[in-house]
């Protein structure tokens, strides 16, 4: 069973058209939830860490939020350079001191002019 599910798989937006990406998780004892951006053929680039329900973080046009079951990545007035695959990952915490990340399959975002 997948611990992390991302939706939609792909999203096409016109420049300036705001939207949200979803990440739902089933791990118990969440230690942290991470958002990464990945360009084709490259390694994931760290964006945000969220640790507890109700937490929010912002960076330029991106805002990440966290509830007890899911996280949203809100993209406000996107630009073509925001086109990438956005990956969500979770890290379990209860009874563990280890740092394994469980990733979703990602949402491929395309922003056209």
């Amino acid at each position: 069973e997948d611990q992390v599910t991302q939706s939609p798989e792909a999203l096409r937006l016109q420049e300036g058209e705001s939207s949200s990406l979803n990440c739902s998780y089933t791990v118990s004892g969440l230690r942290g939830l991470f958002w990464y951006r990945q360009d084709p053929g490259k390694g994931p680039e760290f964006l945000f860490t969220l640790y507890s329900a109700g937490e929010e973080k912002e960076k330029e046009r991106l805002k990440a939020t966290l509830t007890k079951k899911e996280s949203f990545l809100h993209i406000t007035a996107p630009k073509p350079e925001d086109s990438a695959t956005y990956l969500c990952a979770v890290q379990e915490g209860e009874g563990s001191t280890l740092g394994r990340l469980y990733f979703g399959r990602g949402t491929q975002l395309t922003v056209w002019p």
């Binding site: 390694g43 990956l87 740092g99 399959r105």
Partner: protein, 110 residues
């Protein structure tokens, strides 16, 4: 300050061969994790090294092995390569909860 570096960037091997991939962590980081990313999928955890010991392992066969050196750099070795081992291999380094990834090594098995 250099981030996480990996070598080589690309590699082509044939079935049955062995391969070694290398990773240098970000300055100040002491933990290295390896992930395999197949096309169109999210990264899958292979294993994690800390203080030169493998301290957690994902669901990968013993053909996948690794090593961490005293300077915290790491190697991933894969023996008896299969076609299904073709993927982007990612190294991530950390000193806390957040993991920072390198550019990856693209392995193609023919």
């Amino acid at each position: 300050d250099a981030g996480v570096t990996q070598s080589p960037t690309h590699l082509i091997k044939t079935r049955g061969q062995q391969v070694t991939l290398r990773c240098s962590p970000k300055s100040g980081h002491d933990t290295v994790s390896w992930y395999q990313q197949a096309l169109g999928q999210g990264p899958q955890f292979i294993f994690q090294y800390y203080e030169e010991e493998e301290r957690q392992r994902g669901n990968f066969p013993d053909r996948f092995s690794g090593h961490q050196f005293p300077n915290y750099s790491s190697e991933l070795n894969v023996n008896a390569l299969l076609l299904g081992d073709s993927a982007l291999y990612l190294c991530a380094s950390s000193s806390g909860w957040e993991q920072f990834f390198g550019p990856g090594t693209r392995l193609t098995v023919l």
